[in-house]
Symmetry: C2
Subunit: 104 residues, 2 copies
């Protein structure tokens, strides 16, 4: 993993800091991070053309700051919240499946 990418992940709260910590990640955990980031990017792209973060938060019974975290790939956001958000912007399970299928 390149330094710049690791730095970016660390800023978002991902525990991939040191090399040894990075090696502690199972392959599955690494893939899940990639999936989360892919969903996050897709959500941001779609939400921006559809509504404000506050509007989306209302639909979800969530809060604007949480949407911001979701769109920025924050580690505290679950795949479930990412999916609920994507669906609330009008994306479908098919769309979500396509995004995940393209990871790696």
């Amino acid at each position: 993993m390149e330094d710049a990418k690791r730095k970016s992940l660390e800023d978002k709260g991902w525990k991939v800091g040191t090399v040894s910590e990075f090696l502690d990640l199972t392959p599955e955990e690494a893939v899940v991070i990639e999936i989360k980031l892919a969903l996050s990017r897709c959500l941001k792209e779609r939400r921006q053309v559809a509504m404000t973060q506050a509007e989306l938060a209302n639909k979800l019974h969530s809060s604007q700051p949480r949407i911001a975290k979701a769109e920025n790939g924050d580690a505290s956001v679950s795949i479930e919240l990412l999916m609920r958000a994507m669906l609330a912007t009008g994306l479908t399970p098919h769309d979500i499946g396509q995004v995940i299928a393209q990871v790696n």
Copy 2:
């Protein structure tokens, strides 16, 4: 929703009990439940031909009881754990994407 299906979900811990509670579910929440159940079914099918629950649990640094819950669609299991488990059985992001894309 038919009675039999609602009963099955209730047994697994899903809060879809009464009609009014069911109506409280946002459409996105309902779809997410379907996605979880689809992932759960796929995991069970794949794991059964590949290894025991205990072996999978070891690969994941998890426990056999948690794998049992994952395979039986228990509400306490996150999408993230379902995905990590699927990946550990040898399934790929592409496989996972296909399962989700077929929901609904």
